[in-house]
């Protein structure tokens, strides 16, 4: 096993899939000559040439729509959005076209496209650049959404996404790009829709996705050391499909649940998870479910306040203690 960064893991996934399948094409703004705005695609142009790794103009509706069209004929485009925030100018393509084409054609047409890029706050870039649209997009049947938190998951989920025959939207996090972790040398995938218990525990279940998993793991340490509480952390990894069974199994074990996400609270992913738990494991609960989300406002620019707007370790610990009280 090699220890590599989240960024390198994503790159390795793309490199291996480019090699495995000559229908795979990487496309996006600055992905080729500039080696990627965040250097995720570094070296791919050199290795695979300009037919496979393509720079686009700043025309998200155009090039993403083009990728969707190409995928209908069997190309497997992996499109980079410099930020998922820029998907909003391509919303019609991403939702209406990619999400509905199979259904409206009565199953005649598939759309095996991957769109990937960072979707996170916490980088001091203000409201227009800090959107986390996983809940919005996952609310559309026809679309799959994953949010890896570790290098292992980033590589495995991206490879699974590229081999998937439906549109899969991979939401990364710029703050995680330098995080390191163990990644196997041999070929593997992380199937979509399989959550991962990142830490076992018996007193409380924390359900999280994306960077909130990392925050929750840190909070679990504090809860154990300072409060003697044993916390289980379930990383959803995949938002749609959603691994309902792993969530429920954990709640059946701990009987208490805290849901943590970096989204704003209204109709966030955790609203769906809370409904799931109360509908299928209501009798298992010893306390009401609590949530920690971002403070409900457009992302503030001021860094000191943005750090407080997002869920942090302190807030997770405080809320966990309320569930345990």
């Amino acid at each position: 096993m090699a220890v590599i960064s989240y960024r390198e893991a994503l790159r390795a996934a793309m490199r291996e899939e480019l090699k495995r399948d000559d229908k795979v094409v990487i496309m996006g703004e600055e992905v080729a000559q500039f080696n990627g705005a965040y250097k995720v695609t570094e070296g791919l142009l050199k290795e695979f040439g300009p037919k496979r790794v393509v720079d686009t103009p700043i025309s998200e509706a155009g090039f993403i729509g083009l990728g969707i069209g190409a995928s209908m004929l069997g190309i497997r485009p992996v499109m980079e959005l410099m930020f998922w925030s820029f998907s909003y100018v391509a919303f019609d393509q991403i939702v209406n076209n990619a999400g509905n084409i199979r259904y409206m054609s009565g199953g005649l047409i598939n759309c095996p496209i991957v769109i990937r890029g960072p979707a996170n706050g916490g980088t001091n870039v203000g409201a227009t650049h800090s959107h986390t649209p996983e809940a919005i997009l996952a609310s559309h049947p026809g679309i799959k959404v994953v949010c890896p938190a570790t290098p292992y998951d980033a590589k495995g989920l991206l490879k699974a996404a590229i081999r998937d025959n439906d549109p899969v939207y991979v939401m990364e996090n710029t703050i995680l790009y330098n995080d390191k972790g163990e990644v196997p040398d041999e070929d593997y995938i992380v199937p979509l829709g399989v959550a991962d218990v990142k830490r076992e525990g018996s007193d409380l279940t924390i359900v999280a996705h994306g960077r909130a998993v990392i925050t929750s793991l840190k909070a679990a340490e504090v809860l154990e050391k300072e409060h003697g509480v044993s916390v289980e952390v379930v990383d959803l990894r995949s938002i749609r499909p959603l691994d309902e069974e792993t969530i429920l199994a954990s709640v059946r074990k701990t009987h208490r649940a805290l849901l943590v996400e970096e989204n704003k609270p209204f109709c966030g992913v955790d609203a769906q998870v809370a409904y799931l738990i109360q509908s299928k494991a209501f009798d298992e609960l010893d306390a009401p479910i609590h949530r920690v989300s971002s403070i409900d406002a457009p992302q503030i620019y001021c860094k000191r306040l943005e750090d407080q707007q997002l869920p942090d370790v302190n807030r997770v610990v405080r809320e966990a203690l309320k569930v345990l009280a």
Partner: protein
């Protein structure tokens, strides 16, 4: 209108040094000595403000993105110096120069960059999101091209209210490939709106040279023909030329209520933003060539020295004062407080900020 000769980017470098051929244009010839000095002073202030920003960024006090305007000053200075009471402007994220030109203070601009509550947007917008609607400045927009329809709406509103005014929407050479820009072009032309689309062509969109991003019939402005719109190209290193040609577009907006696309050739000296190491996509020599031969602030200074409007002593005084003003703004930003946690949920809805007998909606609107 007459079709101007096509300038491609390196071509604009070949223009001979020496007096501006637009000095005698009526909009420039009619400027008083004091007005010329004021215009030069504003350009110098933009330059020194941003150079001060670099230091503050390097000290770690500015985070996120910082897109500098250094090298492009004549575009904002030339165009905005012509505007009147009912002329409005809107731009992208490279927005400091426009802000200072419309009369925003260095203090509020600097404090916004460091996220202070004394900033122009109270620390909520940052570098990319300056606003001063009281000065007809509608931002500062982070999403490429998004300002073009907004600006077209400002022009629509001006016309609707029967005012003799206009809107100038600035964008980069990469932004012209956003769908929203084309939709705005069509609306402006179809509805005869007093609109000026200003394409600040600095040759690059991030690491992509203009030739690699855009299919065009010789120049970006010429795309206007597809919408039956007037267009022109401008050497953006010469503030007199910017003024002379923009004045014609303004006249078209004010008197005929017709839109124009202006493509202004310019150059940025620093990376796309401070996060861009700027080592891969262009030559250091190219930057030097522009800095040495085409610097808009320097060229205007030389012009005014030749005209005996400026003396070296006066120029020194102006530059020293601009530097001192930027230093003071840095101190002001340092000493200003942050917004509070309670401030995070303010300014989301007008109604929540203005609760009173006349506000009518009910129910939860900010969630936990």
């Amino acid at each position: 209108m007459a079709k101007p000769a096509v300038l491609t980017h390196p071509e604009s470098l070949k223009r001979p040094a020496g007096p501006s051929e637009y000095a005698k244009d009526p909009v420039n010839a009619s400027m008083s000595k004091a007005e010329k000095i004021a215009l030069y002073t504003k350009m110098a202030r933009i330059r020194h403000f941003e150079q001060r920003c670099i230091r503050i960024y390097q000290q770690g006090k500015i985070g996120g993105f910082l897109h500098l305007y250094v090298g492009q000053e004549a575009v904002a200075a030339g165009t905005i110096s012509l505007l009147g009471k009912h002329d409005h402007i809107i731009t992208g994220y490279r927005d400091h120069g426009h802000g200072l030109m419309v009369g925003m203070g260095m203090n509020e601009c600097m404090a916004e960059l460091t996220g202070r509550v004394t900033g122009c947007s109270q620390g909520k917008g940052g570098s990319m999101h300056y606003f001063a609607p009281d000065k007809n400045y509608w931002g500062g927009h982070g999403i490429v091209g998004g300002q073009a329809p907004l600006g077209t709406g400002l022009a629509y509103a001006v016309k609707y209210m029967g005012l003799k005014g206009s809107c100038l929407a600035y964008m980069g050479d990469g932004a012209v490939n956003q769908g929203a820009v084309h939709e705005a072009y069509n609306l402006a032309a179809l509805w005869d709106l007093p609109m000026i689309f200003v394409v600040e062509n600095n040759g690059y969109s991030m690491g992509t040279s203009q030739e690699r991003s855009t299919a065009h019939p010789g120049c970006l402005a010429k795309r206007a023909e597809g919408y039956n719109m007037a267009w022109d190209v401008i050497n953006g290193h010469d503030v007199y030329e910017v003024r002379a040609k923009t004045a014609l577009a303004l006249k078209r907006a004010h008197e005929e209520s017709k839109p124009t696309v202006l493509e202004i050739f310019t150059y940025r000296y620093f990376g796309h933003s401070m996060a861009d190491p700027d080592k891969t996509y262009r030559d250091k020599d190219e930057i030097k060539e522009y800095r040495d031969k085409k610097d808009p602030v320097l060229l205007f200074e030389q012009e005014l020295l030749r005209e005996k409007v400026l003396t070296p002593e006066l120029s020194q005084k102006i530059n020293d004062a601009a530097m001192a003003e930027a230093d003071k703004a840095a101190v002001f930003a340092d000493e200003s407080p942050d917004p509070t946690v309670a401030d995070v949920t303010k300014h989301i809805y007008w109604e929540e900020d203005n609760r009173g007998p006349d506000t009518t909606s009910r129910g939860t609107i900010i969630f936990e």
